[in-house]
């Protein structure tokens, strides 16, 4: 193994004979004149518009009526078995009538598959691209939770929405397993026609809590 490494590195170095010996990586110019954000207007409004562009549903709610809105959405989609990740605020699911599946001890993939849906918080939103970012923090659960169930209800606060990709990337913690989700799972593999709903949750609903 280390022999292969030595030989590859030797070949890389010999291939780079034209690079002056005293050149450091940071001496190679990178012009970062691109903008931090392309967003204009109200960031929360833009986020809602862009998430809906992917044919996901966004419901706006105040802190006070979020629990009722969440219960209504879950009932509407006939969710009777809901995966609730560790650390998810009880108050937000207080009005939900169905049964809850705890991930402690961890649910098996088959158990997750048999559930009707999952509810999670998010680490961040990105307005311009209509993206939610999960980083397995409290209330978000491990990655499989937001993947295997067929419905994902994601609760996000407007204050968590970043305007655009560069701003959002700079706020991430690289060591956390991170998933960018932009709309429901989709494919364009058949005649480049976009079809929503392949392996990930076919229904994505975002509840955006104002303030």
């Amino acid at each position: 193994m280390s022999e292969a490494k030595d030989r590859i590195l030797a070949r890389v170095r010999s291939a780079l004979r034209d690079v002056p010996r005293d050149e450091r990586a940071q001496d190679v110019e990178v012009t970062r004149d691109y903008v931090d954000s392309h967003a204009t207007g109200d960031v929360a409004d833009l986020f809602v518009e862009r998430v809906e562009d992917y044919r996901a549903t966004v419901v706006r709610a105040t802190e006070a009526d979020a629990p009722a809105e969440i219960a209504r959405i879950l009932a509407e989609h006939a969710v009777a078995n809901l995966v609730v990740p560790p650390g998810f605020p009880d108050a937000l699911v207080a009005r939900y009538q169905g049964s809850r599946l705890s991930d402690d001890p961890p649910l098996t993939p088959v158990e997750l598959d048999a559930s009707d849906g999952v509810i999670t918080l998010a680490a961040r939103g990105i307005a311009l691209t209509g993206t939610i970012v999960l980083d397995a923090g409290p209330g978000q659960g491990r990655r499989a939770l937001s993947l295997v169930p067929d419905l994902h209800l994601c609760v996000l606060r407007a204050s968590q929405v970043a305007a655009d990709v560069p701003v959002a990337v700079r706020a991430l913690t690289p060591s956390r397993p991170t998933t960018f989700i932009s709309g429901p799972s989709a494919t364009s593999d058949i005649e480049l026609d976009r079809v929503e709903g392949v392996h990930g949750p076919r229904t994505l609903i975002v509840v955006l809590i104002s303030g």
Binding site: D113, V165, T179, E191, L192, H199
Partner: protein, 485 residues
Amino acid sequence: MSGEQVNVVWLGSPTFPKAAHEALQDTQLRGNLKHATTTIRDKRLRAVAELDDWETLRLAGSQIKDRVMRHLDEYLLQLEASVTAAGGVVHWAEDAREANRIVAELVRAKGATEVVKIKSMATQEIGLNEALDEEGIEATETDLAELIVQLNDDRPSHILVPAIHRNRTEIRDIFRREMGKHGVPAPQDLTDEPRVLAEAARVHLREKFLRATVAISGANFACADTGTVGVVESEGNGRMCLTLPETLITVMGLEKVLPSFSDLEVFLQLLPRSSTAERMNPYTSLWTGVTPGDGPQEFHLILLDNGRTKTLADTEGRSALHCIRCSACLNVCPVYERTGGRSYGSVYPGPIGAVLTPQLVGVGTSEHADSLPFASTLCGACYDACPVRIDIPEMLVHLRAKVVDSHRGGVPKPEALAMKGAQVVFGSPRRLAMAERLGAVGGRIIGIGGGRWLPGPAKKWTGARDVPVPAKESFRTWWRKAGRG
């Protein structure tokens, strides 16, 4: 030198002109391709036009890649250290055979006989599925298009949409015929509606995802400073593979390393808009080594050379390694649109394939790979579309010269002879005038026959192109007659 490279090109592939000639007769293929490339071209233009600093982003992307290539050894060592510190294991593979051997050993050590796979150019390049098959390990492609290709024992024709050459009806027939042989069969009443076909794939693959213990992926990027590896996808099959199994094996070309996690702010803007022409692809997964209690508890990263250091050594061809596999150059290429990807006889088709393939296998080693730099009109559309500003047309010209040079000493190639001849003719006004008169006579002869081919060494040229019938009089003759001489 590295060991023998296999599988970048498909063994026994005919030269491009020959393969293209056959592909051009296939009207179904041409229809499918035209529909698909036209759709995606228009979408890409709209997605790109939304960002008014697109050119600045392209420049930054290209400069970051330039920095990586010029200091690749440092970044690879840094990446190895940070992945290892995060609980991953890094392996180095000089060529396809070595990479395949490492993967097979890792799979066998887990006692697995089947693996699920995320679509990956690197694993296709090394022929991993075939190699695993020889070891008695069944690899299932989980990307919808790759599944279509695999079920039909077909070859991919596009980097992003490997089954672009198949329309919905053909796909329905493949699913009906083949799915049952490999697992959950397609429903009897399967229609050719894309939504219904996607549902059939979901059901067929879900059973495999829930059972799999080992997954194999490629990587879109790996950040040297943090050890974070990223996969960009749409369907969620990637997330399934990256999340559910106990062991994850990632095969990554050396050139995919990025200096820093923060560079993602450039590439996560450039890649989705250039590739699927979306503001953002549905799913992007980033992981750093192993996270206790979340996802695979064993992570192996295989760094693959397989001809990349050879490409790196050519200062004029080096930037082919900047490619982020978006496939925008395929979609805008007039040659690709007509011949399709399989005519290139390589895992990497289209304009980028025409510069990458001959470099990975080595110029002058294969007649087929040597024919690829000529598979272009040099129109420049690929350069305009490339999100990291790879000057493909210039590189094509450079590689054409290298191909011609590599044949010096032996029998000269027709291209070399033609250029020599042109030098003689254009070198003297008298000789040019004579050639033009001959051309006019020849034109009449070609015209009479109704044929559009030339004899002798030029036959090869006209085998792939119609010869325009030369004008009956030359410009010079016309000029003189018009009394302007």
